[in-house]
């Protein structure tokens, strides 16, 4: 292997999807290329994180979810890839855990940071804003501790 492997090759290598010769060449390249080894390790960590999330979120899926996962995969496979990067992600070896994780995350649901890609607003903001405004009411305490002092280690209330 004379050039650096692509991200898609890393992903396929990680999931044992490469042809034997290509697999061996990439393994040999990784031995001697520090930057590719780091890129590969990034893929490993990402894959493990997705797997861990899927395992942690594991629960009995509602009827139809399994079918919707396969449907998502099949339709993804039918569509032509619009970038090589995306094509890499849609390979079955990757698409299955990714699609599963996304569907499970959507099922796990409301409050997830993966909510439709829209920003989420930390509940602390609403609680702080409400507390600050209670001082507009006679004899209320108002802000007892300003947010500015609530570092993570102080945030005992946040669990």
């Amino acid at each position: 292997m004379t050039s650096h492997p692509s991200q898609e090759q890393f992903i396929d290598y990680l999931h044992g999807e490469l042809a034997p010769g290509e697999d061996a060449a990439l393994a040999l390249h990784l031995e001697g290329c520090t930057s590719c080894r780091e890129s590969y390790q990034d893929e490993v960590r990402l894959s493990e994180a997705l797997g861990s999330y899927a395992r942690a979120s594991e629960r009995e899926l509602p009827p139809g979810v399994r079918a919707s996962i396969w449907s998502a995969i099949e339709s993804a496979q039918r569509e032509p890839s619009w970038t090589q990067r995306l094509a890499g992600w849609l390979r079955p070896a990757v698409a299955i855990p990714v699609a599963a994780a996304l569907v499970i995350a959507a099922f796990a649901g409301y409050g997830s940071t993966l909510h439709h890609g829209s920003p989420t607003i930390d509940a602390a903001y609403y609680l702080d804003d409400h507390a600050a405004l209670t001082s507009a009411v006679p004899f209320n305490e108002g802000t007892i501790v300003p947010t500015a002092l609530f570092t993570t280690e102080n945030a005992d209330g946040a669990q």
Binding site: G109, Y110, G111, S112, T113, H115, H116, S118, P119, T120, I121, D122, A123, A124, Y125, Y126, L127, D129, H130, A131, A132, L133, T134, S135, A136, V137, P138, F139, N140, E141, G142, T143, I144, V145, P146, T147, A148, L149, T151, E153, N154, A155, D156, G157, A158, Q159
Partner: protein, 339 residues
């Protein structure tokens, strides 16, 4: 003889008249005076704030030096994570001194502005609560007037104030939930009135990194105008507990999402309604959220001491209700917000 007797009687009468305690002011006058007491009374004390939730409670303890009218330093003693941190208020600015991060966060003193609004909201309180004197008591040897604020609609005592008979400063405050259980208590202990607090006490520590704190948007009491300026068709509750009315609102951009905040109060209790229509959900991942429903819509709520946050969505519109009301009351308000 008769003349000297008459003189003695007159003298005795005058003596007894001057020795009699001054009559307590009317409850309304006492409340008004108590609200403005910090603007004229300087003191040093220790303050204990307790907030009681349904499952857990939290406590905050701080030393306070207050120099009337508007300089205050709070020096936190507990919880442990805050020990040594302090808040210095100088006029219209607040400095949050974080000793662990060696930084000072500078921000406008929102509480000062709110206290002005609070004086206006006293009339709402008086409209919804009966102010009743309870027998006088004493705190640390000082005579205090005890005032109960009883809800006119439910008859329940919602707040109990212990007001220093001499200075009219509130020394103890207890607030009760809708079921009568205490939800918050503030106690000023070891108070010492003094006009000799050195100005240096309120100096901002040198050598710390200063950063600007996040400033909230200006609230407006013109709620109709706020609603019309939200940039989207806002929804308001069709049901509120008796005595509640809108008192303020604002529109702020949070992570680029225009968010409408409306505040309702009955003069003591408050509830905030937040809403956006950009599909920006409330992130409850740092809290122990519990599932519930708002008019058949899946919802979740979290409790922070006596404060409950209820979050739900209707399509791309997301709502959060925050207040010291019961969950059932919040759910009822939430259901009435939906179209």
């Amino acid at each position: 003889m008769a003349r000297s007797s008459a003189l003695l009687s007159l003298a005795a009468l005058l003596t007894s008249a001057t020795a009699a305690p001054a009559p307590a002011p009317s409850a309304a006058d006492l409340l008004r005076d108590a609200m403005s007491a910090p603007q004229r009374i300087s003191y040093v004390a220790e303050v204990q704030v307790l907030r009681f939730g349904t499952q857990r409670s939290d406590a905050t303890l701080y030393r306070v030096e207050h120099r009337a009218p508007d300089m205050t330093r709070r020096w936190y003693l507990a919880p442990q994570g805050l020990y040594g941190d302090s808040i210095v208020t100088r006029g219209s600015m607040t400095y949050s001194v974080d000793v662990k991060r060696q930084q000072v966060v500078v921000s406008p003193d929102e509480d000062a502005d709110q206290q002005i609004a609070a004086r206006g909201n006293l009339s709402i309180l008086m409209a919804n609560y009966n102010v009743v004197y309870a027998p006088d008591e004493s705190i640390d040897g000082r005579g205090v007037h005890v005032v109960l604020l009883n809800n006119k609609y439910t008859g329940q005592t919602t707040m109990r104030l212990h007001i220093d008979a001499a200075t009219h400063l509130v020394l103890e405050r207890q607030q009760y939930g809708s079921n009568g259980s205490p939800i918050a208590q503030t106690l000023i202990e070891q108070i010492r009135y003094t006009n000799a607090i050195p100005i240096a006490v309120f100096a901002i520590p040198a050598g710390m990194h200063q950063v600007s704190g996040a400033a909230r948007g200006p609230e407006s009491t013109d709620v109709a105008h706020v609603i019309s300026s939200a940039g989207f068709p806002a929804l308001v509750p069709k049901y509120l507990p008796e005595g509640f009315s809108p008192i303020a609102g604002d529109v702020v951009s949070i992570k680029g999402v225009p968010t409408l905040h409306l505040i309702y109060s009955d003069g003591i209790r408050t509830v905030s309604l937040f809403q956006n229509e950009k599909d920006a959900a409330v992130d409850l991942s740092h809290y122990r959220a519990i599932a519930t429903t708002v008019a058949d819509h899946p919802a979740r709520y979290v409790e922070e001491g006596p404060t409950t946050l209820l979050a739900w969505a209707d399509g791309s519109r997301h709502f959060a209700l925050v207040g010291e009301l019961s969950l059932a009351e919040l759910e009822k308000i939430g259901a009435s917000v939906l179209p």
